[in-house]
Symmetry: D2
Subunit: 349 residues, 4 copies
Amino acid sequence: MDIRIPSLLRIKPDTLFKLGKYLRKHGFDRIALCYGEGIEELVGRSIRISRDSSEITVVRQEVVHSNDVTDIMGVAFHLPRGTQAVVAVGGGVAVDAGKYIGFLNQLPVVAVPTAISNDGFASPGASLRVEGQRISAKAAIPFGVVIDTTVIAACPPRFTLSGIGDLISKYSAIADWKLSYHATGEAINDFSAMIALQSVENLVNHPDKSIEDLGFLQLVCGALVMSGVSMEVAGSSRPASGSEHLISHAYDRLAARPRMHGEQVGVATIATTWLQDNPQRDTVLRVLEQTTFLSAIRADPLDRATFLAAIAAAPAVKPGYHTVLSEPGAVERLQAHIAADPLWQDLLA
Amino acid sequence: MDIRIPSLLRIKPDTLFKLGKYLRKHGFDRIALCYGEGIEELVGRSIRISRDSSEITVVRQEVVHSNDVTDIMGVAFHLPRGTQAVVAVGGGVAVDAGKYIGFLNQLPVVAVPTAISNDGFASPGASLRVEGQRISAKAAIPFGVVIDTTVIAACPPRFTLSGIGDLISKYSAIADWKLSYHATGEAINDFSAMIALQSVENLVNHPDKSIEDLGFLQLVCGALVMSGVSMEVAGSSRPASGSEHLISHAYDRLAARPRMHGEQVGVATIATTWLQDNPQRDTVLRVLEQTTFLSAIRADPLDRATFLAAIAAAPAVKPGYHTVLSEPGAVERLQAHIAADPLWQDLLA
Amino acid sequence: MDIRIPSLLRIKPDTLFKLGKYLRKHGFDRIALCYGEGIEELVGRSIRISRDSSEITVVRQEVVHSNDVTDIMGVAFHLPRGTQAVVAVGGGVAVDAGKYIGFLNQLPVVAVPTAISNDGFASPGASLRVEGQRISAKAAIPFGVVIDTTVIAACPPRFTLSGIGDLISKYSAIADWKLSYHATGEAINDFSAMIALQSVENLVNHPDKSIEDLGFLQLVCGALVMSGVSMEVAGSSRPASGSEHLISHAYDRLAARPRMHGEQVGVATIATTWLQDNPQRDTVLRVLEQTTFLSAIRADPLDRATFLAAIAAAPAVKPGYHTVLSEPGAVERLQAHIAADPLWQDLLA
Amino acid sequence: MDIRIPSLLRIKPDTLFKLGKYLRKHGFDRIALCYGEGIEELVGRSIRISRDSSEITVVRQEVVHSNDVTDIMGVAFHLPRGTQAVVAVGGGVAVDAGKYIGFLNQLPVVAVPTAISNDGFASPGASLRVEGQRISAKAAIPFGVVIDTTVIAACPPRFTLSGIGDLISKYSAIADWKLSYHATGEAINDFSAMIALQSVENLVNHPDKSIEDLGFLQLVCGALVMSGVSMEVAGSSRPASGSEHLISHAYDRLAARPRMHGEQVGVATIATTWLQDNPQRDTVLRVLEQTTFLSAIRADPLDRATFLAAIAAAPAVKPGYHTVLSEPGAVERLQAHIAADPLWQDLLA
């Protein structure tokens, strides 16, 4: 089985100053550069210095304001002849747009996430908007991922905590995959499951779980990359997305004030691992506590009614996608548990 | 970058009883079956039951007595037309032979190691003998790896301890790779290094490091598979083989009584990580202690004079392969350290 | 060098009645079906019969009215989960749309052209409209090409003659490629050039060049497929598109009444092969005469002033794309020749 | 469907003088060089000049005396570290050996045939000897094929005539493939069949069929390359080997004095196309006559008794391989025809 992995991977402090060197080493000297909103102000200087010293020509530079597919095509179909790669610097929107611009031109993409709020930057898909609606489009896994951990460490904590919530959800997602295998015969890919879990377990076992620690952040980034690779191996988002993601998607639609993807997913994982009777549930709770994820949620709880409604709505989000919530009575059992268990008192309000 | 990974991966108790089912699921019903010496007596019954219940036809069955390339070709060039896969059950010799038979016929290989004394079973190469000399031949990463952890648990402890020694050597090998990058400009593949280290770190962080624990064994097996994949990603054995492997190869040639590959490599890693001033050296020692690797060595130490000579001979084993031993005075410093440090008193005799 | 070729290829009479059988044989039983305008009326009955007898489920059926990218995305991003392939039946617009719907979903595409007016159906790209402008987008070479030569034989002759014009232009395109190699060092791919020319030469050497002859049509279709493959091998349209295509593109923009692509390209090839002093020019003229291409043009000549203007405008169509027209004075020499040479009297008016 | 094709292809006069340039262009500057017996004397000077002017280092040079697999491995497993490609210059034996040395090391091979007596030089296999027996081993299609047509033109005519015999046999082989499809359901690959036939048809239609004509030789070489590619596409030798090859293999075993492979195959094709009632039989006879193939055979006929015995023995050469000879009574009918038809009077003696 042949899979595609990033050819260029650098996760450490001050990589932005070497971006030009990395590009040249891989044969790219004419690039299209996409910045997220406000990102050039943040990190543009490092990138300009690096670009100039490595003599990289930016044949087109663009600030990405949205992941709307019409905007993306406006850029994608007018790249100058001879563009060799697309470099996307910023948060989720900029990286998704850059990935899709690259995909439409069959050009390699170098993702340079400046925040790690979810595992999208290394996945083989792109989250887009088509006529106002969010869709998950197929794309290619990035050619390169370059992360400057000092930039990540300087992000508001919510971003990184959201990324940790997205990572910890693998325990729930893979348990759902196994349930589906037994209930529906859906094929499971052990290699995909193994690398998805291995990367999270590294995190879990790391002695110092401070989101300001560069070593810990390096592990978090590496695990998010491996999450993307596990989806590439599986040929779907199964290893990274189960019932907890369905709850989060439903919450997105129902909530007056949706939260960051990984925040919702992390909270939902506490719920779904209970329902799964998941042996890793204590680990989930421990890691969310130690990283201050839970205290951040307690400081600004999710909306209780919306969360309960999201649980009820979740099974219909992806028809035919078997999870623990597909089992008879599962929704009601989970809702009753949440009402009764003191843990949930201050996570929801 | 496209890499090849095993399409079939099963590591858990009692997989031998399901081997036929796995083969059929992947479209193989006509196979060549290679057993190592004495292996059919050990596990043949499970495999026959599984083969029969899944209606797999064994078009050729062979007991592998050696990894001599002439013997291997005698089998390889006479496989019946219509053979769909080669299944190799046994230790290193049987799996190497099976891998090469498959490679010469461009057929998928399913490796079923019955002992895990090194990381060869999932690597993209094969250790062969050509005119009496050991060589590392190119081959393909196996299509499948199936490991029955109850079989592994029943092995003599030395085998599994040897596998752990081979795994822990990644810390030394990757440090050498980085040294070579700085000293010679040799390209380093961060993705390869990441997956090689991640799998070892899982092991290191596992609370219960008993080689009788099926959960721990599953981690060890998974890490050995990832070691093979890391070599596939790197396109060489760099992530899995540094100065400590050179010492072991030299010891093989010099010793009256060579030990298992992973035993030698594990001991050598204690030496090379000292020379590298490797921050993971304490981890190496702790894991080797906790798994009883060190007590097994103490019960039957390596030969002191041979080990010191092997250090001196190591740099010449692979000319042009930069490691910490390539640095001026490195051999002498290491020899002096070993003579002086009490740790080495009972590892060598 | 790895290239992609169609896995399914059937060019003969009455293949439409076997389309369902072919699909099932390749593992597709849930397809999206795109018809060109008016095509279902023409061939829908054969396809329905075949679909039903092979129990193929059409999960989505669509009539394609345009190759506008917004329309295409409206379909592409809403294919039902579980769609296994996109089958596109019709002329250039339907096949281009189908190819792009497949590309955006990374699904295999089966092209079923009902007319062969150009070589686009088997190429790795798609001609689209973006905000009213025609662009050449990257896509993938079709998984399958199924052509029913009885359907092709029943087309109005202009379509097939246009296809022949597009084919004969290879002589001009490849001569331009070689010129560019010598003038600019642009890499030439001999394998690509060889298969592009071989397929045309088969046509040229066929004794009976009647566009009603099923055997001859089979050769024409095969040559158009090989033209697509030659572009895949080259990684660009170089083997199939030189100065004669630039003239045709310019004519498209300048003409009050543009003709079919291959008609323009065929006429332009007569001009550019003169300028190239191309040894195959007599062959070009002979084949265009024997197939009745030239008599069809004489019956309805191109516009003289527009054609001369198109020659002048051609070099600017693709900046940096070296052809015989890039040489100093080439445009003027060609214009003067056309004014003077009696051959052109009745091809232009 | 992904297939591998030669990345480097040059067929024209005086390519030997540019071999070094071609190698460097593809990134090879450290090569292993295999000459056939007597070949260095023949063309070594051109190659040395080219090698030196392009600064190519020959890290190992070898004269190939046989295609015995033990000899080949003696070279293959001792190539110097850092060898980038294997270049094989000579006839069938040297090219087969070079291809296999490359395959065992997973290195690219550049085939430089100095005679074109069969289609082996561009095929994805290698003809070897294992313990004295001839076997067809799997290998890889060459990375490059470089043919100097002035060298080919200077060969004794028998070599080129043999190549033409091998080419013309495609008509027989593909008819057998179709027979097998109808009789046994064996899958047929239309793309493979198309490119196999297209290349032969170019030859057939070429006005001047003189084996001294450089243009005609270029076509013959191109067609032999496409024959290799057609086997790569099919994943087997089906498009290039049918009943006529079985007869030739049987003749090899039975004859006191076997002839060149293509000579035997060409004569056998006359026989098998009669049995197939093959519509191309007249074409076969015409081409063999025009190229002087038949007059060369008449000057030195095959042995009648051996040829008749070979027909009888052919069906057992590859058990389970359906051809026209598998049909009941086919052998007897063909033998009776040969006895009676005057055409055979002077081809056999």
